[in-house]
C-alpha cells in the first residue's frame, strides 16, 4: 500500500468537505493511504504572497517542515491553491534558500532541508496509480454521461508538471476510464476568478457565467472540478448567475472524486452529493 502525507487545506475541512470525504473513500478503494499532516496550517493562498513574500514562504515552509519531520517524501494537496502555494514556496526554499527565512524558521524549531515534493491527487493517476486500476473498480459504468472537465488555472500553471496549461487531458482520461464521455471544450483552464466572486462580484460572476455557458453549449450534462474554489464558484454562485444573466443554467458541478466514487459503487451518502447546491438528481441513479 502506497502512503502519502495529506495536506487538506482549509476548504476541504469547510465548504468543500464533500471533496475530502469522496477523495478519502476513493483512495481507500484504490489502496492508497493518505495520512493527514500533524497540526498543519493554512497555506496562505494568493493573499499572503500579495502582502509579505518572506513570511508567505515561511508559512508554507512550516507545513513542509512538518511533513519532512514526519518522514513524508511526498505530500498530496487536493486544493489547486494549496498545491501551487506549497509548490512555489518549496521551490524558493530549495533553490534560493534565504538566510532570513531559514534563521527565522530555525528560531522556532522548524527545519526544512528540501526533501519533500508537493503533488496534486490528479497527478497520482499518471504516476503511481494505473488507469486500468481505476477501470477495474468501476461498478456503475457512466454510460451516457457527457462530462466537461474543468481544471481551472493553478493546477496546470505556471508549473506544467503533469499536464498541458491550456488543453490538459488528465481529468478527461479518468472520466473515460469510468466509461463517461469527456466533452471537448475551450475553457478547460480559463480562470473562474478565484476569490473575485466574493471581492469584485461583477467581474467574478461574469467569468463563471462564460464558463458555464460555453460548456453547456457543447452538450455537457455535468462538470467535474479538481479544485475546491473552482467548485465553489461554479456550484454556489450558479443560481445567482442564472438570475443575473437571465439564463437557466442548471448544470451539476461535481468534485472529480465524487464521480469516481459513484462509479465505484460507493454509498452515495459517503460522497457528499447532498451538500451540493445544484441538484444532481438528473444524472445520479436513485
Amino acid at each position: 500500500m502506497k502512503e502519502y502525507g495529506y495536506y487538506p487545506g482549509c476548504s476541504l475541512k469547510g465548504s468543500s468537505k464533500a471533496y475530502e470525504d469522496s477523495l478519502l473513500e476513493v483512495f481507500k478503494v484504490l489502496n492508497v493511504k493518505l495520512k493527514e499532516l500533524d497540526d498543519w496550517n493554512c497555506c496562505g493562498a494568493t493573499a499572503y504572497f500579495g502582502v509579505d513574500k518572506d513570511m508567505a514562504i515561511a508559512v508554507s515552509g512550516r507545513n513542509l517542515a512538518i511533513a519532512e519531520k514526519s518522514g513524508f517524501k511526498e505530500i498530496v494537496a487536493p486544493c489547486a491553491g494549496c498545491y501551487l502555494t506549497l509548490k512555489k514556496s518549496n521551490q524558493f526554499l530549495k533553490e534560493n534558500p534565504s538566510e532570513k527565512i531559514k534563521n527565522a524558521m530555525g528560531k522556532v524549531g522548524l527545519n526544512y532541508n528540501g526533501n519533500v515534493e508537493v503533488l496534486h491527487p490528479l497527478q497520482l493517476f499518471f504516476r503511481d496509480i494505473d488507469l486500468t486500476e481505476v477501470a477495474k473498480n468501476v461498478k456503475i459504468p457512466l454510460k451516457g454521461w457527457k462530462i466537461a472537465s474543468y481544471y481551472g488555472c493553478q493546477i496546470v500553471r505556471p508549473y506544467k508538471d503533469f499536464d498541458d496549461p491550456y488543453d490538459p487531458q488528465s481529468l478527461d482520461l479518468i472520466m473515460n476510464a469510468l466509461q463517461a464521455e469527456a466533452i471537448d471544450h475551450p475553457c478547460k483552464t480559463r480562470c473562474c476568478g478565484g476569490s473575485l466572486t466574493g471581492t469584485v462580484e461583477d467581474v467574478g460572476l461574469r467569468l463563471v457565467y462564460i464558463l458555464l455557458k460555453e460548456i453547456k453549449k457543447r452538450g455537457a450534462n455535468a462538470i467535474v472540478t479538481a479544485c475546491p474554489l473552482c467548485h465553489f464558484n461554479l456550484d454556489v454562485y450558479q443560481k445567482k448567475i442564472s438570475s443575473k444573466f437571465g439564463e437557466k443554467l442548471d448544470i451539476p458541478i461535481l468534485h472529480f472524486t465524487q464521480v469516481m466514487g459513484y462509479a465505484f459503487g460507493i454509498d452515495k451518502k459517503k460522497l457528499g452529493f447532498d451538500s451540493l447546491m445544484v441538484s444532481t438528481s438528473k444524472i445520479l441513479r436513485a
Binding site: 497540526d39 500553471r157 505556471p158 454556489v236
Partner: protein
C-alpha cells in the same frame, strides 16, 4: 469643468522605479518586454483593469511609479498565470503583479475600500494569529471594512451554505499558534 493636464512631464517620473522592481525576485526580466500584448490578450480580466498588463509593463519601465502602485489592475489580477506561461520574453508577469501589490501595501497607497487588498490583509492576519483561515469570519471582516450593505445580498448564500453544512460559525485554529506568531516576530526582527 476642471481642465487637467492628462500627460505626465518626464521630470515627474520616478527614474529609479524600473530598476527597483527589476531587482525583486521574479521581476528580473522586465526590461525584455517587447510590448507585444500577448499578456493582455490572454488575460481573462484585462477588460476590467485600468491599465492592461502590457500597459502596466510599459509604465514600470518608464517610471510611472505612483500610477502603477495606485492602479486597480494589480488587485484585479486573479493569479491565473496565463500571461506568465504565454509571455514570449518569459517575464513572470504574475510575480511582477505580486511585487507591485506588496509595494503598494508597504507604502500604504492601495485603494483603501477596495475589497481585494482588504481581504488579503485580513486573511494574512488571521493566518498569522490563528494558523487557519475561517471562511465565514474573513469574509465578514472584509465586508464590514469595505461595503457593509453587501452583507444583505450575501446573506442568502451564507444561509444556504449553513443549511448544507458547508459553513460553520466555529473559528478554526492550529494547536501551536505560538509557532506562527513567533515566526512572524523573528521575521520582522530580521528585516
Amino acid at each position: 469643468m476642471e481642465i487637467k493636464r492628462a500627460v505626465k512631464y518626464e521630470r515627474e517620473l520616478e527614474k529609479g522605479f524600473s530598476q527597483a522592481v527589476a531587482e525583486l525576485s521574479g521581476c528580473e526580466k522586465i526590461f525584455e518586454c517587447i510590448q507585444c500584448g500577448t499578456c493582455s490578450s490572454t488575460c481573462p480580466v484585462s477588460l476590467y483593469m485600468d491599465y492592461t498588463p502590457r500597459k502596466l509593463m510599459a509604465m514600470i519601465k518608464a517610471g510611472f511609479k505612483e500610477d502603477a502602485l495606485r492602479s486597480v489592475t494589480i488587485w484585479i489580477c486573479s493569479s491565473c498565470y496565463s500571461c506568465t506561461v504565454m509571455c514570449p520574453a518569459e517575464i513572470k508577469i504574475t510575480d511582477v503583479m505580486y511585487s507591485l501589490k506588496r509595494m503598494a501595501i508597504q507604502e500604504g497607497v492601495f485603494p483603501k475600500r477596495f475589497p481585494t487588498p482588504v481581504l488579503a490583509k485580513e486573511m494574512t492576519n488571521i493566518i498569522t494569529n490563528e494558523g487557519r483561515n475561517s471562511e465565514l469570519w474573513v469574509i465578514l471582516k472584509m465586508l464590514l471594512k469595505t461595503n457593509p450593505f453587501k452583507l444583505l445580498s450575501m446573506a442568502s448564500i451564507g444561509l444556504s451554505l449553513f443549511m448544507k453544512g458547508r459553513m460553520g460559525l466555529k473559528k478554526e485554529s492550529i494547536e501551536k499558534k505560538n509557532e506562527l506568531k513567533s515566526l512572524y516576530k523573528a521575521m520582522k526582527e530580521a528585516s
